[in-house]
């Protein structure tokens, strides 16, 4: 009897050990990536790097246009995708009946979420750059990125809205509020932290994407700041791609420095989103 159970215990210990090893092997690369880029990129990043313009065919100087470009693209994406995404989430959570049409909407969202980013780039090229003649511009790039970001915002926002207890809505209606008043005054404010987290995570992805902006907005050698939404612009992800694959004699330090700036941009958004999420959880009144 004892022999049998200790064999099972051994099997368990082995199994647990294996899984623990797997988890470690999964996590270590993540830490390694971040640490590696920080260590190798930090020497390149100084004030001039962040605020200066590139010189010598991008081989020296700063990357300010790329930083500004990514900032504008993220802003542009937010302008289009946030109101639309939250609106769609409100529809799905508060208004949509349980029927075929609503199912179709959900399938469409799942679909949008799965489309490869380069296909978005193709679409953006075809529709915004060529057909609507916006040209290679921040406008075209933002619109493309917005549609790509839409499903993320809609799913997280809908989840946040649904988490608000139904009882609040019932009570609100029972004292004479309309549906929209209920949403505006109670449901939306309560869901806001969750929605915000989702928005920031969505925008974080948009900021880091290269393929959708390849043909719609990104320029490599454009060492000046964009003046209007119809201008093309440099952008951090695209910049990193080009300098690491297409420019001979590019100093490694600058490559790592650029990667570091992009990483910091993205990770800080992640940090903000996570902080909002945990703060809100603590302060909830339900």
């Amino acid at each position: 009897m004892k022999k049998k159970s200790s064999a099972r215990q051994q099997k368990q210990r082995l199994g647990f050990g294996l899984l623990t090893l797997m988890a470690i092997l999964t996590v270590i690369p993540i830490v390694a990536v971040v640490v590696y880029i920080f260590v190798l990129g930090a020497p390149a990043v100084n004030l001039e790097f962040i605020t200066g313009f590139p010189r010598d065919g991008m081989r020296a100087g700063g990357i300010l246009p790329a930083i500004v470009g990514t900032f504008y693209l993220t802003l542009g994406t937010a302008i289009f995708s946030v109101p639309l995404g939250i609106g769609a989430a409100i529809y799905l959570s508060e208004y949509a009946p349980d029927n075929r049409a609503t199912q179709l909407i959900r399938i469409a969202i799942i679909n949008l979420a799965g489309i490869p980013s380069v296909v978005y780039g193709l679409f953006g090229l075809g529709l915004f750059v060529l057909f609507l003649d916006f040209g290679t511009s921040i406008l075209a790039g933002s619109l493309t990125l917005s549609i790509m970001t839409l499903p993320v915002i809609i799913s997280t926002a809908e989840e946040a809205l649904r988490a608000v207890p139904q009882a609040f809505r019932t009570v609100s209606i029972s004292v004479g509020a309309t549906k929209w008043q209920t949403i505006r005054k109670i449901v939306l404010p309560q869901a806001l932290p969750g929605i915000l987290t989702g928005v920031i995570l969505g925008l974080e992805r948009a900021a880091g994407e290269t393929a959708p902006i390849l043909f719609t907005v990104a320029a490599f050698f454009l060492p000046r700041l964009p003046n209007s939404p119809l201008d093309a612009t440099m952008a951090l992800p695209y910049h990193l791609y080009v300098i690491s694959t297409q420019v001979p004699g590019m100093p490694i330090k600058i490559q790592y420095g650029t990667a570091l700036v992009l990483l910091v941009f993205v990770l800080s958004m992640n940090l903000i989103a996570t902080t909002i999420r945990s703060r809100a959880r603590a302060r909830r009144q339900w």
Partner: protein, 251 residues
């Protein structure tokens, strides 16, 4: 004087539950009318037809009329929003909105476009006093509503309803989550309130029904079995089924 007249009311939901069958009932003014019966009998449904809260549920069929002050509340063009102010509801679990005590009370007024701070303060104080809560919270109106105890929260919900100057107050098992002392306080308040308002109560026990009812109606599986005064119903009911239920032979 009959405040509410229900005629031939039938109700069916899309999944077949909680339907009402041919209800005929008169609710007199300035009395506590009690609607009691076993679970699933349609009591909540009946209550929700009175403030048209069941407009939000998927009702498949509705027949009959409900008249308040001789006005059919289901006629096209009827002001449903105003109806819900006139007919207030207190739910089984106290639902306190995620705001301060003050904001909870003024919510109904705010959505009705009332901004005058003096008016709001007046209404606040009056309704809290009527709900017997004023003394306990007058110094902590800015505290979040959830900071109150269960019994206090329920009285807050009552005050919230009173702030809109209703004419009818519906209470759906309002004391089911409360301790006996809080329950007693609520029942006391009802006796005071009935002087001004029409009270309709779904009790959470037969005993509570017996304690509070001026008029009692027994609802079983969507059908109105018997209606009588409180005294008669709980000492000498006419129908066998009513007697069986009151004596606890089923439930």
């Amino acid at each position: 004087m009959n405040k509410i007249t229900i005629e031939n009311l039938s109700l069916k939901y899309s999944d077949g539950t909680e339907s009402l069958r041919d209800i005929n009932l008169e609710i007199p003014d300035q009395q506590i009318s009690v609607i009691f019966g076993p679970a699933g009998g349609g009591k909540s449904s009946l209550l929700r037809t009175l403030n048209r809260l069941n407009d939000l549920a998927d009702v498949v069929e509705r027949e009959g009329t409900i008249k308040i002050d001789d006005q059919d509340i289901y006629q096209p063009g009827y002001d449903v929003i105003q109806l819900r102010r006139i007919v207030g509801m207190v739910f089984a679990r106290p639902v306190v909105l995620p705001m301060s005590i003050r904001e909870n009370l003024t919510y109904g007024l705010e959505v009705a476009g009332i901004r005058d701070p003096n008016l709001l303060e007046n209404v606040l104080e009056t309704s809290l006093k009527k709900a017997a809560l004023w003394e306990e919270v007058k110094d902590r109106l800015e505290d979040p509503g959830v900071a109150l105890s269960g019994g206090q929260q329920q009285r807050l919900c009552l005050a919230r309803v009173l702030a809109l100057e209703p004419e009818v107050i519906l209470l759906d098992e309002p004391t089911s989550g409360l301790d006996p002392i809080s329950t007693g306080k609520v029942e006391e308040s009802l006796q005071e309130l009935k002087k001004e308002y029409t009270i309709i109560l779904v009790p959470h026990s037969v005993q509570q029904a017996a304690r509070t009812a001026d008029q009692a109606a027994f609802l079983l599986q969507g059908e109105l079995i018997e209606v009588a005064s409180g005294e008669v119903m709980f000492t000498n009911p006419q129908q066998q089924r009513t007697q069986d239920y009151i004596q606890g032979r089923f439930g």
